[in-house]
């Protein structure tokens, strides 16, 4: 598939899904801007892995809750690579706060990063995509844009918002040759490094309850495993390619069928 030579920005590429996406895009020949905010070691590791197979990547840092930092980041990418054709909006916060533990500050923080940040990254890349009459915008959402989390209400509110952001952007930006699609991953094994501020999803009591029931992985995942960052990355590569040109405004659930059980 044709993504070689295209310039891609992957936000939140120092960890988890973003890391997997950045590496796979680079492996297929894309020129990749690896964004991070606080995960500098993780982002460096992503770039090192890309360097190892001779891929082309740069690191860019920004707090996506701040518009000026987004604009500066996009300018850095454009100055270095001469444009930007693929945006993977992936940088997000998941605090796992109880419904009653959210206050105004934590609510705003979630909205500013997960929702406003996605929109303003789109806004910042549009002029560059317009110039080439080509763009692929891929928003990383979650099955929790459909199914509630039951552990972080504001997280799923942001994902519910992203669902409509994808649809609105798709009809507005189509005239510029830009497609906008959404991926809704289910559980993905992102290794040990999870966001440093997230509270655990399960309490000790929950874990004790869970241990009492004997379960098979197939009880929740028909294919017998959870997702891997590479699963998501391969779908990103398809959406980023020329072959996906008729697909826009779609949201693809990528969860191994787990939401059906």
């Amino acid at each position: 598939m044709s993504i070689a030579g295209k310039v891609a920005l992957v936000t939140g590429a120092g960890t988890g899904i973003g890391k997997g996406v950045a590496i796979e895009l680079a492996r297929r020949g894309a020129l990749v801007a690896v964004h991070y905010n606080q995960s500098d070691a993780g982002a460096l590791h992503t770039k090192q892995q890309i360097d190892e197979f001779g891929g082309d990547a740069i690191l860019v840092q920004a707090n996506v809750a701040v518009k000026e930092e987004i604009n500066q980041m996009i300018q850095t990418v454009v100055n270095h690579y001469g444009g930007i054709e693929i945006l993977v909006n992936n940088a997000a916060l998941q605090l796992n706060y109880n419904f009653f533990d959210y206050d105004e500050a934590s609510f705003d923080r979630m909205m500013n990063i997960n929702l406003k940040g996605y929109w303003q990254c789109i806004q910042a890349v549009v002029p560059h995509m317009k110039k080439k009459h080509f763009g692929r915008i891929i928003n990383m959402s979650s099955v929790h844009s459909k199914r509630p989390t039951d552990f972080d209400a504001v997280y799923s509110m942001t994902k519910g918002g992203i669902r409509m952001l994808g649809r609105e952007s798709a009809i507005e930006l189509a005239q510029y040759g830009i497609t906008v699609n959404t991926i809704e991953p289910g559980a993905v094994d992102v290794g040990k490094q999870s966001a440093r501020e997230s509270k655990p999803i399960m309490t000790a009591e929950d874990i004790a309850k869970l241990k009492k029931t004997t379960r098979s992985i197939r009880d929740k995942f028909p294919l017998g495993r959870v997702g891997r960052p590479l699963d998501v990355a391969q779908l990103v590569c398809f959406i980023a390619s020329d072959e996906s040109e008729f697909m826009t405004g779609s949201a693809i659930r990528l969860d191994g069928g787990s939401m059906l059980l």
Binding site: F99, Q123, S145, P148
Partner: protein, 259 residues
């Protein structure tokens, strides 16, 4: 319907939908907490109707994104009228905006009015309802929690967020006997102006895209709110109830029921 003496908290009571709900619910004998940005000035007819029926109404004008203000208000109201049985989040702020040129300030304001207020009202009222192990929360949402507007993206993403809030609350509060649902309303007369778009043809001839060619009304909304407020709706929880006369199902314009 068994709504007698229930206490209903309606946000944006000054809106046409708010006023229509007051009139409808008063027929069933509910008391009210009304958040009114005019401080009740625009509600004189409705308040008179409520008082004539021997019902009570507390009119407030608080910031619904501020937990402390909401909790203080609920505490005061509790002394006078008891705890809230039904919350109707009725905020609908539609402001034109585009992905490409939208302003941050407008984005934040729209999220606050349409979604953040829904969250903090649910949190505060939900605490009360959990204690009494009963309650109904109704979000007046829109068909634009599903269908893009092509004209007011901050509104549709806010309503997309409220859709998920309702589902989260349906679980978190549902375990304490509280039901939480959204009403996806549209189109009403004037929505072609409110959602005027250069991108979407959704509202062209919109009245004829409703299969029976009769647009919805605030009375239709108020009837559904009354039903969802009552015990008759016991098993409805976490639902998005589309109230659009079949509008969103339409797509073949030559089949429109035109005069």
């Amino acid at each position: 319907m068994n709504l007698q003496t229930k206490l209903v908290f309606i946000t944006d009571a000054d809106s046409l939908s708010g006023k229509t709900m007051i009139a409808r619910l008063a027929r069933d004998g509910t008391h009210f907490i009304l958040n009114s940005s005019s401080g009740g000035l625009e509600l004189s007819a409705e308040l008179e109707l409520v008082h004539r029926a021997g019902l009570k109404a507390i009119v407030v004008n608080i910031d619904l994104c501020n937990s402390h203000e909401i909790e203080d208000m609920l505490q005061h109201a509790e002394q006078e009228l008891g705890t809230v049985d039904v919350l109707v989040h009725n905020n609908q702020e539609i402001t034109p905006s585009t992905i490409e040129y939208g302003e941050e300030e407008q984005f934040l304001s729209s999220i606050a009015v349409n979604a953040k207020s829904a969250f903090f009202c649910t949190q505060a009222v939900g605490k009360q309802m959990m204690k009494s192990h009963a309650g109904k929360i109704i979000f007046v949402s829109s068909i634009h929690a599903e269908k893009p507007t092509g004209s007011a993206f901050t509104y549709s993403i806010a309503k997309g967020a409220v859709k998920m809030l309702a589902k989260e609350a349906a679980l978190a509060l549902g375990r304490y006997g509280v039901s939480v649902n959204t009403i996806e309303l549209g189109p009403l007369p004037g929505d072609d102006e409110r959602f005027r778009s250069t991108l979407s043809t959704l509202y062209d001839h919109y009245e004829y895209k409703v299969p029976d060619a009769v647009l919805g009304s605030d009375e239709n909304l108020a009837e559904l709110v009354a039903f969802l407020s009552s015990d008759d709706s016991r098993y409805i929880n976490g639902s998005d109830i589309r109230l659009d006369g079949g509008f969103l199902l339409h797509y073949m314009n030559f089949k429109m029921k035109q005069p």
